[in-house]
Amino acid sequence: MANLASGCGAPDQGRDLSGVDLGSETVVQGTVTAGGKPAGGAYVRLLDSSGEFTAEVVASQEGRFRFFARPGAWKVRALAPGVAGEASVTAAAGQANDITITLG
């Protein structure tokens, strides 16, 4: 959980959602895959509807990522050595909005 003494660094993406009040969060999360396998270590960035950078995390070893956004349209873009991929999502509040990004 973020607090005033913490910085803005992206946390480990493998953790669960315990301690987070999902009712007040708009979670955009999912998996990055390449060649049918999880792309652990991929750089995953959340872009707003105008394409502006909003946040970036490094996918867990299982290729998982998670953002705490707000309701609306988002694009998620992933980068790994030599490949990239992206997916769009319209996120709703109070739930986990799941997407899959395929690198190629």
Partner: protein
């Protein structure tokens, strides 16, 4: 100041891993990435536990900085090359901090850990400690650090640059979108601050944009670069990235980083705040 004096590319770094007098330092808030793999020979600095005072809210004092660098094996005459994850935010903060304490030769690795990884360059997991040194810091500089009263005094007068994402600036989010949004401070931004997200100064691979692109970015946003400038974000590391772009790359001497940033300003009693409806 020329770009090559403050910024090195991954190719230069790869060619100087064994160079005498060059020390690579990985800086991040979460240093578990370092344990899994880091640039060969690099030592690590933990932003949270080693650069921040453990009790009061401030960075560590001069004696603490001297102890830290002595323990890490950094000498006063070493060339320190900083890099990290999170698009070099914490490395840029550390760069600013090395400058506050007067280290003469410090550089940032352009693109940081991301560029290094995207180029599939070597990472190792077994770097031993460097021999201890007797590091001597200078008295902290105040010309590159802004405090809250200066921020309030700059409203409507000098340049204030809010480098957070548009949603944080507008008050729709209270923290970067990879963090839960439950926060103590009020949402919004300092009145008259312009929103120029740090990310606009960087390319997708984490490298800084060219000097011309940076001048155009800030100029088009209406920032008069001849005036004094204060950059802020939520806690001071993203604004250290923008401070680096303005003060170090563009060579503007009158730019300060407000490391108290929104977690301080948004908690102050009685100061003006603007927020989009």
């Amino acid at each position: 100041m020329s770009r090559s004096e403050v910024l090195v590319d991954t190719e230069w770094a790869a060619a100087h891993l064994e160079a005498p007098g060059v020390v690579f330092v990985e800086v991040d808030e979460d240093t578990t990435a370092y344990e899994k793999g880091h640039i060969r020979g690099a030592v690590r600095i933990d932003w949270k536990t080693e650069l921040q005072d453990p009790v009061r809210r401030d960075y560590v004092d001069k004696a603490g900085f001297e102890r830290l660098l002595s323990g890490k094996g950094v000498s006063n005459d070493d060339t320190v090359v900083l890099y990290g994850g999170n698009n070099n935010w914490f490395a840029a903060y550390a760069y600013w901090y090395f400058k506050v304490y007067g280290h003469s030769n410090v550089k940032l690795l352009d693109g940081g850990r991301k560029k290094w990884e995207l180029e599939s360059r070597e990472l190792v997991s077994d770097t031993g400690p460097r021999p201890k040194t007797n590091y001597q810091a200078k008295e902290p500089r105040t010309d590159i650090r802004a405090f809250r009263d200066e921020v309030v005094a700059a409203i409507g007068k000098d340049n204030l640059i809010d480098v957070r994402s548009p949603d944080e600036y507008a008050g729709r989010l209270l923290a970067p979108a990879h963090l839960p949004q439950e926060q103590a401070q009020r949402a919004g931004h300092v009145p008259t601050a312009k929103n120029i997200p740090w990310s606009k100064a960087a390319n997708e691979d984490g490298t800084f944009k060219s000097d011309d692109e940076l001048r155009t970015l800030y100029g088009d946003a209406g920032v008069d670069l001849r005036r004094d400038t204060i950059a802020y974000c939520r806690i001071g590391e993203r604004s250290a990235h923008t401070w680096f772009a303005l003060h170090e790359l563009l060579g503007l001497g009158n730019v300060k980083n407000y490391d108290g940033s929104w977690t301080e300003y948004g908690s102050l009693v009685g100061v003006p705040i603007e927020r989009e409806a």
